[in-house]
């Protein structure tokens, strides 16, 4: 029996990490618009996930202005897979 990952369990973080699985990298504003959260809320979750080693942030530019590009790390992908598997186990009611 696995355990829910405390770094991913907040719904916003689960949405953030799941969204990043669709692409190699995503721009900060794009992710913010998809998740429909404020800059500060997204930054808070990104800081926590980066500290856990689940995402990386890279400075770059987008539409002529400086921005941040986000990507899942291999460790983040593994953590997300394990967390989702545990959620499915909870949903199925398997002990």
């Amino acid at each position: 029996m696995g355990e829910l990952d405390p770094h991913v369990v907040a719904p916003a973080r689960l949405k953030l990490m799941t969204t990043l699985t669709a692409v190699s990298q995503a721009e900060f504003g794009t992710v913010r618009d998809i998740l429909q959260v404020s800059d500060s809320v997204l930054s808070k979750h990104l800081a926590a996930l980066e500290e856990a080693g689940y995402i990386t942030r890279r400075k770059g530019s987008h539409r002529g202005r400086r921005t941040t590009w986000l990507a899942l790390t291999p460790r983040g992908r593994r953590a997300l897979s394990a967390h989702v598997a545990e959620l499915r186990r909870l949903i199925d009611g398997i002990d």
Binding site: V9, P11, L14, T18, T21, A22, Q25, E27, G29, W69
Partner: protein, 177 residues
């Protein structure tokens, strides 16, 4: 007051009075965020009724919806495929003309043109969508998919054959002289 290095809390949610395992939390700037996550974990893992299942199902459904929303929003910018197709056609023609006429610079300039067009279109794609996609360069731009590889290799082989054969409709007589 000095902050303790670790706070140990007990968070219980069962109706029978079971209080749950002790949870250690590092105080600091993200204390509330960690506490929020810990409470959610504790609730999901320790609640016996169907609410934890509903929460888990809802969380998964919302996460998948966000992923699908992003995936559906990704689109090729206008003229991406037309410009890439034109650049590939020019590269094939210049390769044949250059090899057939013995003018390598023509072949090289065709490759350079394709590289420039591909680079510009990649930048446009990222600018248009706000994302990078692994495999886009190899499969779409460089055409490593089976269909794209055949669609490139067959015309290239035919063009080179025509170039070495000095077919008048491909290699201008001036270059072939």
């Amino acid at each position: 007051l000095a902050h303790p290095s670790v706070l140990t809390l007990r968070i219980g949610t069962r109706r029978d009075g079971w209080r749950g395992p002790p949870v250690s939390i590092r105080p600091g700037a993200r204390l509330l965020a960690e506490l929020e996550s810990t409470v959610i974990v504790s609730n999901m893992e320790n609640t016996d009724d169907g609410s934890s299942r509903r929460e888990a199902a809802s969380a998964l459904r919302d996460a998948e919806l966000s992923r699908t929303t992003l995936a559906r929003a990704i689109a090729a910018p206008p003229s991406l495929f037309a410009s890439l197709g034109a650049a590939v056609a020019i590269q094939i023609a210049t390769a044949a003309i250059g090899l057939g006429g013995g003018h390598i610079w023509i072949s090289v300039s065709g490759v350079a043109l394709l590289a420039v067009v591909a680079g510009v279109q990649l930048m446009r794609f990222a600018r248009h969508n706000g994302v990078w996609i692994r495999g886009f360069v190899s499969r779409v731009v460089l055409g490593t998919g089976t269909g794209a590889s055949l669609a490139y290799a067959v015309p290239l082989a035919a063009a080179i054959w025509a170039g070495y054969g000095a077919r008048w409709w491909l290699v201008p007589p001036l270059l072939n002289s």
